[in-house]
């Protein structure tokens, strides 16, 4: 167990105890809640077929993210993931921004997940005859309990994620099988329910911002880089397996929901898969989908605490933030100060109750991070060409994934601007302000030489 390990040679480090299954559970666990709720708002924008197009186009965006991430992370195996990548490949200011994108994206997603847990418990309480339950204590309890588990060790945290994510995946597979699509799907009514694009192709583009819910957070696998036993093998394998799982789960979810619920209802439903189970009229299936939704939200919050704390810890370790945050717990080997510090921030966002606003800020931070990735991989290949350093994985067709990713990020920004233009501009203004703070104040504390830790040769051209 992770708690029994002792430091070797007077140095503390995070424990390398994770395998590819844990990496899969971290990535899929963070994302899968988006299959149970949220993706369906894309239906309100672009209709059911528009949501399917969004699912696959945004799936292509995330496949590019996974390919690029796998190559760079299998080489830059450090906690902080994309932050450490940007630090080594682009430079300190970009690294600082990417680190903040990660922390904001995961902390806000964690708050949203806790909000979902609170709302689900309120629904159950209402059905059980307790109508006026306040969800806020349960939001706080979810965050505190998951922070407690994260504090006590990464192996326990991600083993829990493995189990509950598998149950949530099983719930999606179960409802798919229950509708018997191979036998004509007696309950499924695609021929009646599928309509042409209700708002044309602009509606389809508008649906991209919610299509992100299908996959948001899969890049979080990189944050485990310093804790997996074999980063060059486990990270690409776990990330790719996670992406394949999500593509299948997203398509199955769309197929079942669009065949059972009219698009006008589906586009506004809070828990669409649970509602689909209600249409099938099977009580065990409803229970299974409720448990799946709850577990997916808990797994997502759990993974988000893990990832946000690693990014915050890495920035502290390099003095991009106060060094105090770069401490490792001597017994549990976790970044304990980073975990504790982020609890009240997540709780504060959770107490607002503004699920759509909090998630939008999370999506925007994630999107900003994806936009940096094409630059990262192009510079990575240019400065350290193939053969100059050992790579655990080399993604094919370079630079095509980088070009596709950049173009799709541009389309998604436009989509977000259509729905949440003010939030997008507010977020950009926030990052400009903190960048100024970093350049004019914080950068003087950074250990400029010591922050570059990879045993690589001098980059080409330097």
């Amino acid at each position: 167990m992770s708690g029994t390990a002792t430091p070797v040679g007077g140095h503390l480090s995070l424990l390398r105890v994770l395998g590819p299954g844990h990496v899969w559970a971290l990535g899929v666990g963070i994302v899968l809640v988006g299959e149970f709720m949220g993706w369906n708002f894309a239906v309100a924008k672009g209709g059911a077929l528009g949501a399917l197009i969004a699912c696959w186009v945004v799936g292509l965006l995330y496949t590019c993210v996974a390919m690029i991430d796998s190559e760079v992370t299998s080489t830059v195996a450090a906690a902080g993931g994309q932050y450490a990548q940007a630090k080594h490949i682009i430079g300190p200011l970009m690294a600082f921004n990417v680190g903040l994108y990660l922390v904001m994206a995961y902390t806000m997603l964690e708050a949203s997940d806790a909000l979902v847990v609170g709302d689900l418990l309120k629904i159950v309480a209402t059905k059980a005859g307790i109508p006026d339950l306040d969800p806020r204590p349960f939001v706080f309890l979810s965050i505190a309990a998951l922070a407690f588990i994260n504090y006590r060790g990464v192996l326990m945290t991600l083993t829990l994620n493995l189990v509950i994510t598998a149950v949530a995946c099983l719930a999606i597979a179960t409802i798919f099988v229950a509708t018997q699509p191979w036998g004509g799907g007696h309950a499924l009514r695609h021929q009646d329910l599928l309509t042409a694009l209700p708002y044309g192709w602009l509606g389809v583009v508008g649906s991209f911002q919610f299509g992100i819910w299908y996959f948001l957070g899969i890049e979080g696998t990189c944050q485990a880089a310093e804790e997996v036993r074999s980063p060059p093998r486990s990270l690409p394998f776990g990330t790719m397996a996670g992406m394949i799982t999500l593509l299948i789960a997203a398509t199955m979810t769309w197929y079942v929901c669009s065949g059972l619920l009219p698009w006008e209802y589906l586009g506004t439903a809070v828990v669409p898969l649970f509602d689909a189970a209600s249409v099938v009229d099977s009580e065990p299936l409803q229970v299974m989908l409720f448990v799946g939704t709850l577990f997916a939200a808990v797994a997502s919050a759990n993974g988000c605490i893990n990832d946000a704390s690693r990014a915050w810890f890495s920035m502290g370790r390099d003095r991009y933030l106060p060094e105090w945050f770069g401490a490792v717990h001597p017994q549990y080997r976790t970044p304990y100060r980073a975990i504790v510090f982020l609890v009240p921030i997540a709780a504060a966002f959770g107490f607002t109750g503004l699920l759509d606003q909090v998630v939008t800020f999370s999506i925007l931070s994630g999107l900003l991070g994806y936009t940096v990735m094409p630059l990262t991989i192009v510079l990575f290949r240019r400065k350290w060409p193939l053969g100059s350093i050992n790579r655990g994985y080399v993604h094919p067709l370079h630079p095509l994934p980088a070009i596709v990713l950049f173009a799709l990020c541009g389309v998604t920004y436009f989509s977000v601007y259509l729905g949440y233009g003010n939030q997008l501009l507010t977020m950009l203004a926030f990052y400009v302000l903190v960048s100024l703070w970093f350049v004019f104040h914080r950068y003087r504390y950074v250990r400029r030489g010591a922050q570059f830790t990879m045993p690589w040769p001098r980059p080409r051209g330097y």
Binding site: S13, I130, A144, A145, F148, A327, V340, V343
Partner: protein, 72 residues
């Protein structure tokens, strides 16, 4: 007290107790251990160790080959 208020109070208490435990342990740990030890984690440390191990292994193999006379 209604069932709803009872459930809410239980959730607040449990959440507060867990967070208090974390805070207390973090405070104790920071007092018990030297700050330099707590901050001693270094990025890339293991990669460097693995590289040094690989270099040592290669050196040992070279020495063994020389002893066997299979390498000049």
């Amino acid at each position: 007290m209604t069932t709803a208020r009872l459930l809410e109070a239980t959730a607040w208490l449990l959440g507060a107790a867990l967070f208090a435990w974390i805070l207390l342990d973090a405070w104790r740990t920071s007092r018990r251990y030297d700050e330099r030890l707590l901050l001693s984690s270094r990025e890339g440390e293991i990669e460097k160790d693995l590289q040094e191990m690989a270099a040592d292994l290669e050196r040992i193999e070279t020495d063994l080959d020389r002893e066997r006379g299979t390498r000049p």
